[in-house]
């Protein structure tokens, strides 16, 4: 199994270094004449006001929360799906229970208006 991952590993090293090597190479080609105006933050020509750390709404966090829930469900779903052909009807019932529980959580979030983007 590790032989297969050797290919992945080598490819990963190349794929990760390649963008940076080309960036370094392009550095020799491209001009470099910075000035304060050019380097200023681009906010449609306006002077930047205040901190970049604008306060975000908790909404982003709530969507991420529901995402985490389903992401973990996938970790259970995939081995089940792979093994499913070998298993009996009980596997279906158990997974239905599992998914039902998650669906309940989704319904709860829906009813509480979490899924409305404001």
């Amino acid at each position: 199994m590790l032989n297969t991952y050797a290919v992945v590993g080598l490819f990963a090293v190349v794929a990760f270094t390649f963008p940076f090597i080309t960036l370094l190479m392009a550095r020799m080609l491209r001009p470099r004449k910075p000035n304060p105006l050019k380097n200023s933050t681009y906010e449609c020509g306006m002077e930047t006001i205040g901190d970049t750390w604008v306060q975000f709404r908790a909404q982003y966090y709530l969507f991420a929360l529901i995402f985490v829930l389903f992401d973990i469900e996938l970790i259970f779903l995939f081995p089940w799906a792979v093994a499913y052909n070998r298993l009996g009807l009980f596997a279906l019932v158990e997974m239905a229970l599992f998914i039902g529980m998650l669906a309940l959580a989704l319904v709860y979030a829906w009813r509480k208006g979490i899924l409305e983007w404001q």
């Binding site: 290919v7 963008p19 449609c44 996938l74 899924l115």
Partner: protein, 397 residues
Amino acid sequence: MTLLDPRVLGEWWNTFLRSGGLSEGWVIFINAVVVTLILMGFGLTSVLIIIWAERKIAGRVQDRLGPNRVGPYGLLQSVADALKLMTKEDITPERAERITYNLAPGLAVFAVLMLLVVIPFGPGLIAADLNIGVLYVVAMGSFGIMAALMAGWASNNKYALLGGFRTVAQLLSYEIPMVLSMSVPVLFAGTMSLHKLVEMQANFRWFGLIMPTAFLIYLISALAENERTPFDLLEAESEIVAGYHIEYSGLKFAWFFLAFFLNTLLLSAIAVTLFLGGWQGPFVDKVPLLGVLYFFLKTVLIVFVFMWVRATFPRLRIDQMMALAWKVLVPMALALVLLAATAVKLPWPPLARDVFLFFSNIVMLFVALGAIGRHLRQEAERFSGRQKWATSSSTTS
């Protein structure tokens, strides 16, 4: 005819290497190097072609010519653009967090390039046939999400940060229906290896034909994961500045661009692998190399559909986009998984099961469309009601 079988050729190549007296470790290493070079070359050239095709197709749809100056049919336009971006001055905003800022585009490219390793281009033509292929594809998407977050944060720009956050919210939301729909082929095939998944789809028993709704959910989610129209509201090339990559220029911008187009190709390739039988087609068992042709034909078809959609559809609003993911696609995908699981256990002949699945998929699709249509009509009525009220109140006052 076995001459044209990549598997046989691979065996010959390995025996050739071993006959030269190389140890097993070196054989693996040399093969890895060769595979890496081929895949990198393929990835980079295919991007140039896709960018050209996208511009040409968009041009034709909008009754223009598209690029036609550099090279025959403008084919070298992308090369010219790449050279331009390479020699262009590259500005780093002064308050940016430099290391993270420079790391983000590389990570975005990395996340997409890594998918090349698990794509089965033909029978036996897969760089690494991982047992967890399907989940590997999903896991690499996490790195793309991180790249967007890093770019948005490190630019030290309000728009970039906001764009980064919204992009992440979008990618997260559509990842769930996408992966849920990908679990349906896994359920049928009983494996996550992409090569075996294709092998299981012989004789036109393509999972996309049995479960058209799952395939559709995958396509819609792939459009969103790729930030393509109609889900490109965070970038909206023609209207607002850009998303999280607003501060990037020159080659760093080019890397985000490359990641975007390569992602289009690879998401289509994965769609073909999971749902359209990959390299399966007539006579593949006789002439295996035909499989490569079938694979690319199908992939190009899906890529074309993506571009066609881009040239045709208007953008969604952000609330519509999030509602589509969580209120429509996720429940549908969950129901589809359970439906597929139930059907597999039905004591019927395989053909009857497939037909049953196909029709129940269609029914489910129409029920969902009906529900969406009803909701939209209600919303429109409410909106027009408010309009009437607004105009009447303005005339009376």
